[in-house]
């Protein structure tokens, strides 16, 4: 294998921190000023700065996503009584669903380049490959039962019994594309045992 030249490295502990920790700190600092100007409204905070304010939290979330794209930011109500803060994270809030339900097609045109990828169905590229795999499974079972098959663009591009060997071979052929390597089994997906109690 080629020598590794790591250009971007991160300590896993940094990744495991709450991404909104800094935003909460900024929010607490800004709170006295926010109370004077935006009491009972919602505010969005991103990278320690006020991103916007609005009486409606969904409208504010939509505006904020237009500005910064699909990233976590803090969205909370300004009140003297501390509310339960609302976390607007990509996992919990899908701006595309708002566009779909409100039918505001114009909004799509106004998305920032960063947020533009949110248009249309948010499907993982592997999903189409798994649909193709399930369709082909009866046929694959006759030829490759017990092996793994590499599938890309709905076609079988390789097979091997070993995950590592098939991964290496397929990567060599196709490069970094979202090919899948499911195991051809009557019982797919197979079962695995996870961790012991900690």
């Amino acid at each position: 294998m080629a020598k590794r030249i790591v250009t971007e490295h991160i300590d896993g502990r940094e990744l495991l921190k709450n991404p909104l920790e800094a935003e909460y700190r900024a929010f607490n600092k800004l709170l006295p000023r926010l109370l004077k100007r935006y009491k009972d409204e919602y505010v969005a905070i991103y990278q320690g700065k006020l991103l916007g304010h609005h009486p409606d939290d969904r409208e504010l979330a939509r505006r904020a996503y237009e500005k910064v794209g699909h990233v976590p930011f803090l969205l909370t109500r300004i009140s003297r009584n501390r509310h339960i803060d609302e976390l607007a994270s990509p996992e919990e809030f899908n701006p595309a669903s708002i566009f779909a339900t409100t039918g505001e097609k114009k909004m799509r045109k106004n998305l920032t380049p960063k947020a533009r990828h949110l248009k249309g169905p948010l499907e993982d590229p592997s999903e189409a490959e798994f649909r193709a795999f399930r369709k082909m499974l009866p046929r694959l079972l006759k030829r490759y039962e017990g092996e793994r098959v590499a599938i890309y663009k709905g076609k079988v591009v390789g097979h091997h019994k070993d995950f590592s060997a098939l991964g290496r071979k397929t990567f060599e052929k196709l490069g970094d594309v979202p090919f899948i390597m499911p195991k051809v089994s009557r019982y797919w997906p197979e079962t695995a045992e996870l961790s012991s109690p900690e």
Binding site: A2, G12, I180, P189, E193, L194, S195
Partner: protein, 125 residues
């Protein structure tokens, strides 16, 4: 020969490693790893998936120690630790703070655990 990590009780055999997307050496994340012969597949923290931009390669039905069952995506990663470079390891991601090295990695090694002295060794030949 390495020492057990004594930051938890009981102490466990573990070390720091680097995780990469398979075949893509430019981006990595470091983490503490625990050897877990109770796990048939390696487990990484779910935050690593987005950082490393991992692609889904398969799905697997997992069962936890308590019998709880979940369908999870399988990703392909490379691991670097203690002078070893292990490529195209299948793994799943769950909400956790460290990496569990399951039997799909551990079975590539000769492993000696010396519990009384809190040391262990891993060799490939």
């Amino acid at each position: 020969m390495w020492s057990y990590d004594q930051s938890e009780f009981p102490a466990f055999p573990g070390f720091d490693l680097q995780v990469f997307k398979a075949e893509l050496p430019t981006r990595s994340v470091s983490a503490r790893a625990k050897l877990d012969i109770g796990a048939s597949i390696t487990v990484i923290p779910e935050q690593f998936v987005a950082w490393l931009n991992l692609s889904i390669r398969d799905h697997i039905q997992t069962t936890g120690y308590d019998g709880a069952s979940r369908l999870l995506p399988v990703y392909g990663i490379d691991l670097k630790f203690n002078g070893f470079d292990i490529n195209w390891i299948d793994c799943v991601a769950t909400e956790r703070k460290n990496v569990l090295l399951g039997r799909n990695v551990l079975n590539l090694f000769f492993i000696t655990l010396d519990g009384p002295n809190l040391t262990f060794d891993m060799k490939q030949e």
